[in-house]
């Protein structure tokens, strides 16, 4: 019994670890910056562990986690003071380029992109994240978000239009 329950919990946690980078990016896409995204992710992981017994193993874990993240975000359950001093994403050394000016420009663009993403309505954000960042097909996205493909396309189209207007 102990083995079974312990192994089940360990397996559940390991499954979350495997999709953690994706979950993190989704959280950041909602918050618009890394520190708030990490706070949101922290709360979501915490809630998932607390409620692991309610997870239906027939369901895709990432969909369940996305729902938790989205709901926490919508509910406004964010603890910005938890970590104390945080280093903003744009201040971090990403080592993407050796040219300082290029790094600065890229950081500013990254900040702009994340902010633009976070300003999208949640459904548009979620669809955009699935298709343009995770590279999922419209059909996969429709299945995972439980919406018709037409709705995926219309949300994606509106999101794209908004992003292009903000970024270019």
């Amino acid at each position: 019994m102990l083995d079974n329950l312990g192994a089940k919990m360990a397996s559940f946690k390991n499954d979350i670890v495997e999709i953690l980078p994706m979950l993190r990016k989704f959280a950041v896409s909602l918050t618009g910056n890394l520190s708030d995204g990490d706070d949101l992710l922290h709360d979501a992981v915490e809630r998932a562990i607390m409620r692991c017994e309610t997870f239906d193993s027939g369901r895709k874990l990432e969909c369940w986690m996305f729902s938790i993240i989205k709901n926490l975000w919508i509910d406004g359950i964010r603890t910005k003071t938890r970590r104390g001093t945080t280093v903003e994403y744009t201040d971090r050394d990403t080592n993407l380029s050796i040219d300082g000016r290029e790094i600065t420009e890229q950081k500013l663009m990254t900040q702009k992109v994340l902010k633009a993403m976070s300003e999208l309505p949640t459904t548009q954000n979620q669809v955009t994240f699935q298709v343009l960042i995770e590279g999922k097909s419209y059909k996969e996205t429709a299945l995972e978000l439980n919406m018709p493909i037409g709705t995926v396309m219309s949300n994606l189209s509106r999101a794209r239009k908004a992003l292009i207007e903000k970024l270019y």
Binding site: L2, G6, A10
Partner: protein, 237 residues
């Protein structure tokens, strides 16, 4: 020339068009500079998004998030990351009566519940106490160190700095062994302080594979009792 809607062009940019629909868009693109310009913006947006989110992957994941997903409590060091640590009990439970329930089940519940309480959004670091099963409680009350019964073994006895009687034990189970430390509170209830669950292959195992570190750490400041000394603390009834 067929009119290409913005959604159709978007679908083309996303690789969602095939066959005739795709050819239709490609024919239109050859003739329509504005359409090509729109398509280039779609590609540019995809590239910008990819670049921005790729950078997130390059920033290390916060340790506290990873800590929650390891086998042990978030407070433990990497060396101890195969164990669950439960702080001294802030909650007093009534002593359980003797029940035939297996120790393993109660310890498992304690482990899982402990993880959940640990993850509660309330006062961080504040954890509920978990009593051991009646079986183990009775064994810890009466059995001398080294006693084995029902798949469990009392390993050693200790007194903490305030004189609380604590005992380490192991539970031999299929697929591995659990180690624990339990202390008897003022009400005579054995509460679980430390538990080291069996780990799956994918868990965060320390290189040494040592899972007994926390028991040793937890008892480092305690006085280990000899077999003769521990008799003073064992119940004779």
């Amino acid at each position: 020339m067929a009119k290409i809607s913005s959604e159709t062009l978007m679908a083309y940019a996303d690789g969602e068009l095939h066959g005739g629909d795709k050819i239709l868009v490609e024919e239109a693109l050859k003739k329509d500079a504005d359409l090509r310009d729109q398509l280039s913006r779609h590609y540019a947006l995809k590239a910008e998004l990819a670049m921005a989110f790729k950078e997130i992957d390059e920033v290390p994941m916060p340790a506290d998030i990873l800590g929650m997903l390891q086998e042990d409590s978030p407070q433990s060091s990497p060396k101890d990351n195969t164990v669950v640590s439960l702080t001294p009990p802030p909650v007093v439970h009534t002593r359980p009566s003797w029940q035939p329930a297996a120790l393993a089940a109660s310890v498992a519940v304690a482990f899982l519940a402990g993880m959940m309480v640990d993850g509660d959004g309330g006062d961080r670091g504040q954890k509920a106490a978990f009593t051991v099963s009646a079986d183990l409680g009775t064994m810890l009350d009466h059995a001398a160190s080294g006693t084995e019964a029902g798949g469990y073994k009392v390993e050693a006895s200790f007194l903490d700095v305030v004189g609380t009687f604590c005992r380490s034990f192991t539970a031999a189970k299929t697929g591995g062994e659990q180690q624990g430390l339990s202390c008897r509170n003022a009400q005579g209830v054995w509460t679980l302080s430390v538990l080291t669950p069996t780990l799956p292959a994918k868990a965060y195992l320390p290189a040494s594979g040592d899972t007994g570190g926390l028991i040793e750490q937890s008892t480092a400041a305690m006085r280990k009792l000899s077999i003769s000394d521990e008799r003073d603390y064992l119940s004779s009834d």
